[in-house]
């Protein structure tokens, strides 16, 4: 039976949202684990939720990245388990060097809360396997520091390795400047590690997993969680 953990940091505030979606919609056994209590890699997968860990003081995710819980998350990642970082969770993974790059202040220097389109640029990861290449997902963003940045030389490596998973796009699927809400390099919204089992994204799929919550009546966000759980089931079966 698959079992995942949503790791809570002081200041996480999308933990209950992720829990609700995983338990009620995706229907997978999920535990909320306070970061100090994550001492063993007992789960099949991990979600680092959104929020303002440590108030985003110093830099978003900078202080949480030093939590001892990251040792377990690193172990799990090394063992090939899926690890998903949403918004602040993505920032924590970047600060902890589990994902490359940096997430900086939005280009317009303001917090932005709105629904955007994401284009699937790699549908072979544990988080996107249930999607089609080029599929558009409508999900909301809500962040102050969402501008993804990487040294230009490294972007090429990222793309070559298929590490760019999701990009901001317009209704036609084009990654235009207008479709880019925060100035992220190459409209990058979500990336993964070279092994593809650790992914971080700035948008909030847990807010787009139930049609009544969406202005478009869609629930595409849940495909990320569905994909993750399918991967876990496969891994568990493979090991038996």
């Amino acid at each position: 039976m698959p079992q995942v953990a949503v790791v809570q940091y002081p200041g996480s505030n999308c933990d209950l949202d992720a829990l609700e979606v995983l338990q009620k919609i995706v229907r997978v056994k999920t535990d909320l684990v306070w970061h100090k209590q994550l001492t063993h890699d007992n789960y099949d997968g991990y979600i680092l939720p959104g929020g303002f860990s440590y108030g985003d003081y110093l830099r978003a995710g900078a202080i949480a990245a030093h939590s001892p819980s990251l040792k377990i998350v690193r172990e799990a990642a090394k063992a090939g388990k899926p690890v998903l970082g949403i918004c602040n969770g993505f920032q924590i993974l970047v600060e902890a060097n589990l994902l490359p790059g940096a997430v900086l202040r939005n280009a317009n220097l303001r917090f932005i809360c709105k629904w955007i389109n994401l284009r699937v640029d790699n549908n072979k990861t544990p988080f996107t396997r249930k999607m089609k290449m080029g599929q558009l997902l409508r999900v909301p963003i809500a962040h102050n520091e969402g501008r993804y940045y990487l040294e230009p030389e490294q972007i090429q490596t990222l793309e070559k390795n298929g590490q760019v998973v999701l990009r901001y796009a317009d209704n036609k699927g084009d990654t235009t400047m207008d479709a880019n809400p925060n100035g992220s390099l190459e409209n990058i919204a979500g990336i993964c590690n070279p092994d593809h089992n650790v992914m971080g994204l700035m948008p909030h799929p847990e807010r787009a997993s139930q049609s009544e919550l969406s202005p478009y009546n869609n629930a595409e966000g849940r495909l990320i969680f569905d994909s993750m759980i399918e991967t876990i089931r496969e891994r568990n079966e493979g090991r038996r």
Partner: protein, 98 residues
């Protein structure tokens, strides 16, 4: 004949922080949750602030400082109700332009 002018510049740093006796949640959190937990217990305090570094054309450090102080008040670079504003000269250079 080409006319050359030599101008003097000063580099001025402006540091904006919360007032000394006001709380500084960011500094306190960095101190408590990062520095101390990281084992650096010889560090007894951290305050956070914003740094602006300005280049000012001025003949003297005092002149540059006066300009920047006036600018900070005029343009509400800081809010005197909540912040303190330190201004200090950190550099000087001559530039020759044609």
């Amino acid at each position: 004949m080409v006319l050359k002018t030599r101008n003097q510049y000063r580099t001025v740093e402006v540091i904006i922080q919360n007032k000394p006796l006001a709380r500084d949640p960011e500094g306190e959190t960095i101190h408590r949750n990062l520095v101390l937990k990281g084992g650096y217990d010889l560090v007894t305090g951290v305050r956070a602030g914003k740094l602006l570094r300005m280049t000012v054309q001025a003949e003297s450090g005092q002149e540059a400082e006066n300009i920047v102080r006036r600018l900070c008040d005029d343009l509400r670079i800081y809010n005197p109700v909540a912040h303190s504003c330190e201004v200090r000269i950190v550099g000087k250079e001559d530039r020759i332009t044609e």
